[in-house]
Symmetry: C2
Subunit: 281 residues, 2 copies
Amino acid sequence: MKDRPIGIFDSGVGGLTVFDAISRAYPSESLVYFGDTGRYPYGVRSKGVIVEFSRQIAGFLEDQGCKFIVLACNSASALALEEVASSASVEVIGVIEPGAAAAVAATLSGRVGVIGTEATINSDAYTRALQNLAPRIDVIARPCPLFVALAEEGFAGKPATRSVAEEYLAPFKDDGIDTLVLGCTHYPLLKRDIAAVMGPSVQLVDSATAVAHAVGSRLEERNHHRRSDAHGEYKFYVSDTPGRFQTVGRRFLGREVAPVEVVDLETLHEFGELARTGRRV
Amino acid sequence: MKDRPIGIFDSGVGGLTVFDAISRAYPSESLVYFGDTGRYPYGVRSKGVIVEFSRQIAGFLEDQGCKFIVLACNSASALALEEVASSASVEVIGVIEPGAAAAVAATLSGRVGVIGTEATINSDAYTRALQNLAPRIDVIARPCPLFVALAEEGFAGKPATRSVAEEYLAPFKDDGIDTLVLGCTHYPLLKRDIAAVMGPSVQLVDSATAVAHAVGSRLEERNHHRRSDAHGEYKFYVSDTPGRFQTVGRRFLGREVAPVEVVDLETLHEFGELARTGRRV
């Protein structure tokens, strides 16, 4: 079990911020990453569709021998964690709880802002997770849908991004928050733009590091950590456009994303059948 | 045959600009619209995936009794028209050729710009279509990927959109073009922003009207027009999030989008099998 890889998946490249945090914290672990580039973004889709896509990919990662699965996509974590966990035979964790715990640790005023995709914000998953940890916390959550496209297209730091950030984030300034959760794995790429609008009195919480620690302690508890001086092996799978994934992925990871292999949607569909019915088509 | 509806499909809401043009030009025709909202946008995907999705939807529209199918999505028209036409039993037309013909009619200088998604621009479909009609024409084509998200999110006329338009379109100003093809059905929503950057000397070509005329003359040739004083019936199908489709669709169509029904991805997958193998799974 120990030598088996950790599976990480996201709708696209965003989860590479989580991949990066895990690989830095636990360099001996092997990692398998899946980006559903044939069907991203998830943040505009319904629960039913997000559950189906997530189950397919979790099935694929299990088939790759993963000892543990991380839903590194906030929309999937918010809407499909329970369903994926119930049909998977290995442990599955999402990014919402670790992010919420980091925010609770960071806030002094007890007023926390959350930004994410429409799917994530409408699900109220962060509000539930935050109030579960600290019942008296005030949570103000708002969707920032354009941030995903701006991060994907390399618009970090450009005037258009600042202008969109102003439009989305201005209302938070009247809310008296001291902490803002970046509830989408794409948003850390726009951290500077977001910080410039929010000012120095608001702390930004990026869940990637918190997720890496959560993964580490789960592996520790189960004694599933790979104990080795050798560096882990990395593998990347996508459902479409591997070249684009490498180009945009480099922007997220700050280094080469390789090797990348394509898994076609037909194959994923079969893993979905398997998760739903217990048998292959 | 005459009373059967015309099928129109797009990756999402963008094709409603084409729906609108056809319904205005031929009010007695019944129309069935399909928006693949469970898997949009197409403009970031590969040919293989776009062909598969397009075949599935064409299969569904045929099953609905459509007498004619319009690929109202530029990315699908650029990359999947031939494949969809070869597996469909009714006539299929795309939006590229009518748009190119309108641009050739409009240009005086013989220098034409084209903007569209990455998939459309990288396919060179507009360049081929334009040079097919007018071999000596100069074509300068550039992708404007963020325009889709900006149109979807209701950012027409906002400072961020102007700023993105400046960034994408400034290089065209040195190219000496007198005509710019809006090669994506989302772009007409940003017409004012685009016109403000390009100035009055550049004519914008929106293919929706050209497509409506092309549909009309094909129906005329085959004597398939519905001759009636009664208004045609309209039906909308989507693969996900019908509520969002109605909200965003209203922005595109300028009136109510109803009734909307959901066709699940499992059903579409079956139509794909049928198109590929000739039999249902």
